[in-house]
C-alpha cells in the first residue's frame, strides 16, 4: 500500500486520544467490560469517538478537532461524564494510569476483531503484555514538510512529555522503580522508537516505500514511533504519554505540547539535526526512570541539568505563546506538577505507601478519573 497523501489541517489544532482501563468494582482488577460499555455509549451522543482497543479491558476515547485547551477540556469532560454514567450502570470502574498496577497479563483477552487477532498472532505474549494505556496528542500541521520539521523539533521535548504524564510505576503487582514503566513495554516492539530523520515528505515517502518493499510494514499503523506523522488527519501524533489520572491533566499536557509546537514553528529556536538523536534514548530513559529528577542532556550544548529545570526554561520560553493560545491555566498546572505536586506516578506511589493495598489505589484512581 503506497503512503497516502498528507491531508490538510489547520496549523496547531489539537486532538486527544485516551486509552482507559476498565476495572471491576469488586476487586479493582481489569475486567472485560469494553463491549458492554461500548453498547451503552453507542446510545448516547458524544463530541468525539469511543472505540475498542487491543484487549477488552480497554477502550479509547477521542475528542473532536479542537483549537485550544478549553475546547479539549470541554470535549473530554463531556465524554468522561457519559462514560462514567454508563460504567456506573454496569458497576465497573474507569481509570487513567499507564499500566494497571496488578493485572496478570495472561488473563487478558484479545478484543474480537480480525486486526487485533492478527496482531495477537504476530506478537504473541507481547500483545497481551501490551495492555498499557497511553494518551496520544495530534497536532495539526499546515503541510507535510512542516509536519516533519515539527516532528523532529518536538523530539527534543519527549522527556518532558514522558515525565509529566508518567503514571505507571507498578507492573504486575510490583513497584518497578520507574515513573513510566509503560514505555518499557512499548520499546519491546520491533518498530518502536524514533522516526527516521527526514525533513521533507519526498524523503519520507522514499523511506516508506523502501520499508514496504521489504514487506516488514504495510501502513503507517505498523510503526510504533514516539512521534509519527498521521497523513490521514494531516497531523503529527505524539504517542509517548501515559494516560494521566485526570482529564484536566490530559488536557493540560495537550495544551503544553501545542504551546511548544507554536514556539518551535514561529521562532525556530533550534534547527533539527540527526545528531540531536545521539542523546535521545538516554534522555528518554532518564525521564521514564526518574521523572522530573532525571538528567537531561541538551542535544546542542551537551550541558547536563534535570528534566525539571529544562521544563522550567521551556515554560519561560513559551509564555507568550501560552497567552496567545489561551493555555495559561494549562501551563500553571505544569508548573505546579514540576514543583511540589509531582506527577501521577508519585501520587500512585504515595497512595500505595498510605494504603498498602493496590486494589484500593486503583479505586482512588477511579475516583480521580470520575470527577
Amino acid at each position: 500500500m503506497p503512503l497516502e497523501a498528507f491531508a490538510e489541517s489547520r496549523a496547531l489544532t489539537l486532538g486527544v486520544e485516551l486509552e482507559l482501563q476498565i476495572v471491576d468494582a469488586h476487586d479493582y482488577d481489569l475486567s472485560h467490560g469494553a463491549r458492554d460499555l461500548l453498547r451503552l455509549a453507542a446510545r448516547r451522543r458524544l463530541p468525539g469517538e469511543v472505540k475498542p482497543e487491543m484487549t477488552d479491558s480497554m477502550i479509547e476515547l477521542s475528542t473532536g478537532v479542537c483549537s485550544d485547551y478549553a475546547g479539549i477540556l470541554a470535549h473530554l469532560r463531556e465524554s468522561r461524564d457519559v462514560l462514567v454514567e454508563c460504567a456506573t450502570k454496569l458497576n465497573i470502574g474507569l481509570s487513567g494510569g499507564g499500566t494497571h498496577p496488578f493485572q496478570d497479563w495472561s488473563q487478558r483477552r484479545i478484543f474480537d476483531t480480525p486486526r487485533f487477532h492478527m496482531l495477537s498472532e504476530l506478537y504473541g505474549y507481547l500483545s497481551k503484555q501490551f495492555t498499557v494505556f497511553g494518551q496520544h496528542v495530534h497536532v495539526g500541521c499546515p503541510g507535510p514538510d512542516a509536519a516533519l520539521v515539527l516532528l523532529h523539533g518536538l523530539s527534543r521535548f519527549i522527556p518532558h512529555f514522558v515525565a509529566l504524564s508518567a503514571s505507571s510505576p507498578f507492573v504486575q503487582g510490583t513497584d518497578t522503580g520507574f515513573h513510566s514503566a509503560r514505555l518499557n513495554s512499548v520499546f519491546a516492539f520491533p518498530l518502536s522508537g524514533r522516526a527516521p530523520f527526514a525533513l521533507t515528505w519526498d524523503e519520507f515517502t522514499r523511506f516508506f516505500d523502501k520499508m514496504t518493499r521489504t514487506g516488514v510494514v504495510q501502513s503507517m499503523k505498523d510503526f510504533y514511533w514516539d512521534i509519527r506523522p498521521k497523513p490521514e488527519f494531516g497531523t503529527i501524533e505524539v504517542r509517548v504519554l501515559d494516560t494521566p489520572l485526570t482529564i484536566e491533566k490530559a488536557a493540560a499536557l495537550a495544551a503544553y505540547i501545542q504551546c511548544v509546537a507554536r514556539w518551535l514553528s514561529f521562532e525556530q529556536p533550534f534547527r533539527p539535526a540527526e545528531d540531536d538523536y545521539l542523546v535521545y534514548t538516554f534522555n528518554r530513559f532518564q525521564a521514564c526512570r526518574f521523572g522530573f529528577d532525571g538528567t537531561f542532556v541538551d542535544p546542542q550544548t551537551g550541558e547536563h541539568h534535570t528534566i525539571r529545570d529544562d521544563i522550567t526554561q521551556t515554560l519561560a520560553a513559551i509564555e507568550h505563546h501560552a497567552i496567545e493560545l489561551g493555555a495559561e491555566d494549562a501551563c500553571r498546572r505544569v508548573r505546579d506538577d514540576i514543583g511540589a505536586l509531582g506527577n501521577d506516578a508519585t501520587w500512585i506511589r504515595d497512595t500505595f505507601e498510605r494504603e498498602q493495598l493496590l486494589p484500593e489505589v486503583v479505586r482512588q484512581q477511579c475516583l480521580r478519573w470520575s470527577r
Binding site: 471491576d24 468494582a25 469488586h26 476487586d27 479493582y28 482488577d29 475486567s31 472485560h32 467490560g33 458492554d36 453498547r39 451503552l40 454508563c86 456506573t88 450502570k89 454496569l90 458497576n91 488473563q107 483477552r109 498498602q356 493495598l357 486494589p359 484500593e360 479505586r363
Partner: protein, 405 residues
Amino acid sequence: MTGDNRSDLFFLPSWPPTPDVLLWVSLTIVLAGLLGEFVFRSLKLPRVVGYAAVGTAISAFGAGIGSAALAPGLRLIVDLGLSLLLFELGARINLRWLRANPWLLANSLVESVLSFAAVHLTLVWLGTESRVAAAVASILVATSPAVVMRVASEFNASGQVTERMIVLTGLNTFYAVLASKFVVGWLHAEFVGSWFRTIAHPLYLLAGSAVVAALLAWCVSLIARRLDLRNENSALLLLGMILLALSLTKMANLSTLLVPLLAGTMLRNSTERPWVWPRHFGTAGGALVLLLFVITGSVWSMDALMTGAALGMAAILSRLAAKILATAALGRPSGISMRQALALGVALMPISGAALVMMADLQAIYPAFAAQMTGIVFSAVAVLELLGPIAVQAALRYVNEDKLR
C-alpha cells in the same frame, strides 16, 4: 500372680476391623476430590458436579439422607460450608449499584415474584394442595448461592452476567428465607390462630440476624484494618470469626443463611475500600465446601423421587421460564444485551444447599407440614445439584465470561 490373660497378639486390630466416621469422611473427601478433578479435566465440567455425584452415589446405595431430617453433624457441615459461601457472596453485593441502576433492583423483584407465582400455579394445577405449593414456591425463589459462587470462582468468571447472577442470587436468597418463614407461619395461623407468631417470626429473624451480622462485619473490618486478609493466617482468623458468628446464630435460633449473607453485604457497603481474601478463605474452607456439595448431593431417595420427581421437574421448568422471562424483559433497560439476559436467566437456575437448609428449618418447627413438601423440594435439589452447575457454566460460556477453559 495373675497373668495378662489377653492373647499375645492383643495389639493387633480385631478382624474384621471396625470402620469409624473418620474413615467414611476421609474416603468421601478423597473420592469427591478425585471425581471432581476427573469431571473437570475430561468432561470440562465444574468440579462441584463431581462432588455432588459422590453424594448422589451414596444415596443410590441407600445411605443418603432421604426424606428424614438432616442429622445434626451433617447439618453443621452444611451450615459451615454455606456460611462461607454466603459471606463471600454478600461481600459482592454492592447496594450502590442497585441505587445507580434501579432496573437491576426491578429485575430482582420481578424475577422473584414471577418464580414464586409460576411454581405455585404449576404445582396447584398439577393437583398439589395450595398451602404446600405456596411453601415450596417460597423456598424455590432462591437460587443456590453455593453453586453460583463456586462455579463463578472455579472458572474465574467475571463480567456483567457473573456480577448480576451473584447480586440477584443474594437478593432472592434473602427474600426466600423471609418468605418461607412468613408463608408457613401464615398457613399455620389459619389453623392455630396466632397471627402474632406469623409476623413476629420473620421479624425476629430479620432483626436478630442483622444484629449478629453487624457484629461480625464490624469485627472483620477491625481485623482487616490491622492485618492483610490475603495472608493465610488472617484468612484463617476470618474463617474463625465466621464460624463463631454461626454458633451465636444457632444459639439465638436465628437464620444461618441470613447472618453470613447480611454480614458480607454490610461489610461490602460499610466502606468503599475493596476487600480481598483467598477464595473460600483457604484450604480449610475448601474442604467444607466440598463436603457441603457431597451432602446436598445425597438428599434424594427412591421414596422422595417416587412422590415428588414429576412435580419437582414441573417446578424447575416453570421456575426457569419465569426467571428467563424476567431477565429477558428487563435486560435492555438495565444495560445488558438479549444474549446476556438469556444467559442470566439460565444462570439463576441452580437449587441446592440453601433450599435444603430452609427445608430443615421448617422440618424443625412444623414437622408434619414440612413432610408434605420434602418429596418435591428434595427431588428438585437432587436434579439441580448435578444440572445446576452445568447450567451456570454453560450460561457463562455462552457470554464468554469464563476465563478458564
